[in-house]
């Protein structure tokens, strides 16, 4: 029999620290597969976040520059400006990009920097123990909103793709999920598209990925996948939010 699939070469053969059923490790694998398939392993530079994915530099076998909390897009801007021929992407969670890093993300998108952002949205602060994030759904219970998030006092969840779509210089914004085989394939396609937008030097691209966090959602792994389809995708509709032909 012929081997048709094995672990991608860009993903180091080390155990990942993520909880069982975490979407981060699926997204790491998709990025590693794409870097292998597109031949970008030598030229890629990733800026990992502060958050659950802070140790991404142990797993992805490419060049990495760690940024302070929320500043990944600012660091990526600097790297891309001095090394315009490298593939530069940041990998950020919702606490990193949509809370402490809102200013950096918004202005990087507004300047139309030629970078790609992989934005992992799991509606909660994962690493610090499940506090409310800007993307937490209305009524969702977290450790800091034990009675559920109240939109009147805490505001409704921020839809990052829709927010950035109003900026003139954003080129490609898509929201996908990693909760089913079909959605994983769509996510891979979206990241491939975002990387190719950058290769064409067209401008800013962002892929928002709805990712299960069974530990902080207090669900089992399979129920968290169903929950994304039934609840989360209603608040954060999947699909291409903005695409400028390039």
């Amino acid at each position: 029999m012929k081997k048709v699939y094995q672990r991608p070469r860009s993903l180091r053969d080390v155990p990942m620290h993520y909880c069982p059923g975490c979407g981060h490790s699926i997204i790491h694998r998709l990025i590693a597969e794409l870097l292998d398939e597109m031949g970008l392993r030598d030229s890629a530079i990733c800026v990992p976040p502060a958050g659950c994915a802070v140790l991404a530099y142990y797993y992805l076998d490419i060049d990495m520059v760690e940024a302070p909390h929320g500043r990944a897009t600012a660091v990526a801007t600097g790297i891309k400006r001095v090394r315009p021929d490298n593939l530069v992407f940041s990998y950020q969670g919702d606490g990193d990009l949509a809370a402490i890093g809102t200013a950096e993300a918004l202005h990087t998108a507004n300047r139309g920097e030629n970078i790609t952002v992989i934005f992992v949205n799991n509606a909660v602060y994962g690493m610090t123990g499940g506090q409310m994030a800007p993307t937490t759904l209305a009524g969702m219970k977290t450790t800091t909103t034990p009675a559920g998030r109240k939109p009147k006092s805490e505001g409704p969840p921020i839809r990052v793709c829709e927010l950035l779509s109003g900026l003139a210089n954003t080129v490609y914004l898509e929201r996908t999920a990693v909760n089913s085989p079909a959605n994983v394939i769509k996510t891979k396609k979206a990241i491939r598209k975002a990387f190719s937008v950058q290769q064409k030097k067209a401008g800013f691209s962002l892929v928002e990925i709805l990712s299960p966090c069974p530990t902080n959602w207090r669900m089992d792994t399979v129920a968290s996948c169903t929950w994304i389809d039934e609840v989360m995708a209603r608040e954060f509709p999947l699909g291409v939010i903005k695409e400028v032909p390039c």
Binding site: M1, V4, Y5, C225
Partner: protein, 69 residues
Amino acid sequence: MQGKILIHHDKCKGCRFCMTFCPKGCIRVSAKLNAKGYAYAECDPDKPCTGCGTCALMCPEAIIEVYRD
């Protein structure tokens, strides 16, 4: 079409994505625990694996190798 998969049991965290999404129901939970203490995923030899690769597509740990004729 015939296929087979190889799961690196020692690295499995027992998230059950592979067995949930396997279209043929070829993967089951082991009776034993691995060194990490998880009930790992194992291939059911009585079920027909087609080597479609859905399990490998969903496996967060990337520990499944897929073989096909």
